[in-house]
């Protein structure tokens, strides 16, 4: 098929996006990699320090904490978004009336600016004035907790907000995939006496495996880049108990004005996500063949 190898046409389709992307994303990343090897405070001369910033990273207790916090953060965010999103999507497929309305309501939190969501949940979690969650705790006879100040609860509290906000997106993604599974196959399996659970695991999930993988990437990437919820609610505190990589990077680069060190953290985030995406996409390639 010569038409499909037409170089001019390939350039016409590919280049506009590729050029914008290269200039706006890849060049700055390249510059960040360079910055990660210098010592620079944003004003004076730049001093080349090689991999010193990276060596410093692995000796930095806060970085190690941010790193492990980020892993927990990812687990919480992904299980809320993918787990709850999937369960609700499956339940939705059994709904006959009012689906459009319910779907839209489920989806709404995703479109609201995270600044508002963060403040909303700061008051939900609040101890004084008493927030919604503590009102519930009092109803069932528990002591109220300052969720966002307690070392034990703060990370989960912050991660749940980001997890919760985007459940709707994943719910809709899964739902759309689930309903496009051919009804004939499902009917045939039902006649064979399969229970609904068997249907789910033997027929529905395998046929939307591809969509599930994509959703995993989206959710993973969102959680790795997670920033706004912790930054707006706790600024990573108290004592770095809700610090994750992106918040720590931001603070180092812009609050502490250690631009090189901040860039080094950013490089780590990018490398981690490249590894994550490659692993998932390799897995998918294998599935395809």
């Amino acid at each position: 098929m010569k038409v499909l190898r037409d170089k001019k046409a390939i350039a016409f389709f590919l280049l506009p996006g590729l050029i914008v992307y290269s200039i706006m994303v890849m060049i700055p990343i390249g510059v960040s990699v360079y910055y990660s090897m210098i010592d620079w405070d944003g004003i004076g001369p730049k001093k080349f320090v090689g991999i010193n910033n990276f060596i410093k990273l692995f000796r930095d207790d806060v970085f190690v904490r941010a790193f492990s916090n980020n892993l927990i953060y990812i687990v919480i965010v992904m299980s809320l978004q993918l787990g709850l999103g999937f369960i609700i999507a499956v339940l939705l497929t059994y709904l006959k009336k009012g689906r459009g309305f319910i779907q839209t309501v489920y989806y709404i939190p995703s479109v609201i600016t995270v600044i508002a969501i963060a403040q909303l949940f700061t008051s939900f979690y609040s101890y004084e004035p008493i927030g919604l969650f503590n009102i519930f705790r009092e109803w069932i006879g528990l002591e109220p907790i300052a969720f966002l100040s307690e070392y034990k609860t703060v990370l989960a509290a912050v991660a749940s907000v980001e997890g919760w906000q985007y459940i709707g997106i994943y719910m809709i993604i899964f739902y759309s995939a689930l309903v496009s599974v051919s009804p004939d196959i499902l009917e045939a399996a039902r006649i064979d006496g399969a229970t609904e659970l068997q249907l789910l695991f033997r027929v529905r999930i395998p046929s939307i495996a591809n969509v599930i993988m994509l959703a995993c990437i989206l959710s993973l990437v969102g959680a790795l880049r997670g920033f706004a919820a912790p930054m707006n609610m706790t600024k990573g505190g108290p004592n770095h108990r809700s610090e994750i990589l992106a918040t720590y990077m931001y603070k180092k680069a812009f609050t502490s004005r250690d631009y090189g060190y901040g860039s080094a953290i950013a490089v780590v985030i990018v490398v981690l996500s490249i590894i994550g995406v490659l692993l998932i996409s390799r897995y998918m390639d294998r599935e395809d063949t």
Binding site: Y125, Y127, E128, S256
Partner: protein, 447 residues
């Protein structure tokens, strides 16, 4: 076939055209918005001719803040007297956003013509690079140095004694308290820091939340931390911390850490994520007995504006045994100052800034704020009694004003303190651990 091909190209062409049109309308409406806004904003008398000189001011105060309103008024006045300046204000009142943007602009080589800057180590570095106009020289030149209240002006001095900013306000900080709750607990306004802790204890025993504090915004906690060192050494300990001659584990630092560990137990639970607006409203709503703030919130406490059933009074920073600073010496400063980009500071700009210096304070004072320059008042009937009372206090203020730590210490050290202080207040971290963390940051940032 040929027809088909044409239609295909036609569709592509349409798509491209849409893109171009999209950009086009975007750009067009952008400039349109600009011009209409210009027309609305300029408000210049017909007398001034030609293009107005634009001065871009990046401000950390919201556009409705009285400092901004006053500057705008003075600019109008200046233009009415034949000047031709257009003050273009871009403001972002979210302080961390402001800092991020200012630093990015400066790192990217685009310093605004005028901007807000504290006398931080960042200002020192900018000054060393010759990137800030020297205000000592400027004020000397126009003969206006003596018009300023020294504590307001000197607040803007960097650690190496240079002055790069002009103050726009004069603020003091105090702690407000609920007089009914104090009476109920049988206590009075504390004179010493030990009294303060005793008062907190008495209030807590009576079931009140002693302190409502906006810990989420950082600075209220920093002020309390700085109390003991200021009483024990004036600003010496702070300056020595900055220069590396002192450590947090020294006597003044230890006293500070232990004080925070103790007083922290009297804050409302969850204080570390409470913003100052919530802290203020807890106090106004009668949910806590004390609330530390500054004169910029005076308006909320006047008889006119305060909730009816709420009775309040205030006290300034308590002293301690063997204090070297006097009770009339406490938090007082000129607020974040006005800095000027020296590369654009030509005669026209100088003339404009001179006009601002000569006219700012009376105009700002008229909005019921303490002004950074001496203002003559004969008619005080227009002012609220509370404002006059605070003005009276300020007139009697001592020579040494307490300097906020977040201005003097390196940003990374402040970030470390801000990160670790809530844990200390909650009793999760020991004073020793806290001091060690601060010392580590001090050492890492020593030059």
């Amino acid at each position: 076939m040929l027809y088909k091909k044409f239609r295909g190209i036609g569709i592509m062409g349409l798509a491209t055209a849409m893109v171009l049109a999209g950009c086009g309308t975007g750009a067009a409406s952008a400039s349109e918005a600009q011009t209409t806004a210009d027309a609305a904003e300029v408000q210049e008398p017909a007398a001034s001719s030609g293009e107005a000189r634009e001065i871009h001011y990046f401000s950390s105060r919201s556009a409705s803040d009285d400092t901004m309103v006053t500057l705008q008024e003075i600019t109008d006045e200046y233009n009415a007297q034949g000047g031709n300046i257009k003050l273009v204000i871009d403001s972002n009142a979210d302080r961390s956003s402001y800092d991020q943007k200012l630093r990015t602009m400066i790192a990217g080589g685009q310093m605004p013509d005028m901007f807000d800057l504290d006398a931080t180590p960042y200002a020192v570095e900018l000054g060393e690079q010759g990137m800030l106009a020297d205000m000592d020289a400027f004020l000397e030149e126009i003969g206006e140095k003596d018009s300023y209240i020294p504590l307001a002006l000197n607040y803007g001095r960097t650690s190496d004694g240079k002055l790069y900013t002009l103050p726009l306000e004069l603020s003091t900080e105090m702690i407000w308290y609920n007089t009914d709750m104090f009476a109920d607990a049988g206590v009075e306004a504390p004179k010493t820091l030990d009294d303060l802790l005793a008062v907190c204890k008495a209030l807590q025993d009576k079931g009140y939340t002693p302190f409502g504090i906006g810990g989420g915004d950082g600075w209220p906690l920093l002020r309390l931390l700085a109390t003991y060192p200021f009483r024990m050494t004036g600003n010496d300990f702070l300056n020595q911390l900055a220069s590396g001659e002192a450590k947090m584990t020294d006597a003044a630092g230890t006293a500070a850490c232990e004080f925070m560990a103790e007083i922290g137990s009297y804050f409302q639970p969850g204080f570390s994520t409470t913003d100052v607006a919530t802290g203020l409203n807890l106090f106004l709503g009668g949910k806590c007995a004390m609330y530390p703030t500054g004169t910029w919130e005076l308006n909320y406490f006047t008889d006119e504006n305060r909730p009816e059933e709420l009775n309040v009074s205030y006290f300034y920073m308590p002293v301690c045994d063997g204090a070297v600073t006097k009770p009339n010496e406490y938090w007082a400063f000129g607020g974040i100052g006005l800095a000027v980009n020296p590369n654009v500071f030509d005669n026209q700009y100088k003339d404009y800034l001179t006009f601002i210096v000569k006219n700012y304070s009376p105009a700002y004072f008229a909005h019921q704020h303490l002004a950074p320059q001496k203002v003559e008042t004969d008619n005080t009937s227009m002012f609220d009694p509370l404002f006059l009372q605070v003005m009276d206090d300020t007139a009697k203020i001592g020579d040494t004003a307490a300097r906020p730590w977040d201005v003097v210490l390196n940003e990374d050290v402040i970030a470390t303190i801000n990160d670790n202080l809530p844990g200390l207040c909650m009793g999760e971290e020991s004073p020793e651990d806290f001091a060690a963390a601060v010392d580590e940051a001090l050492e890492a940032n020593a030059k």
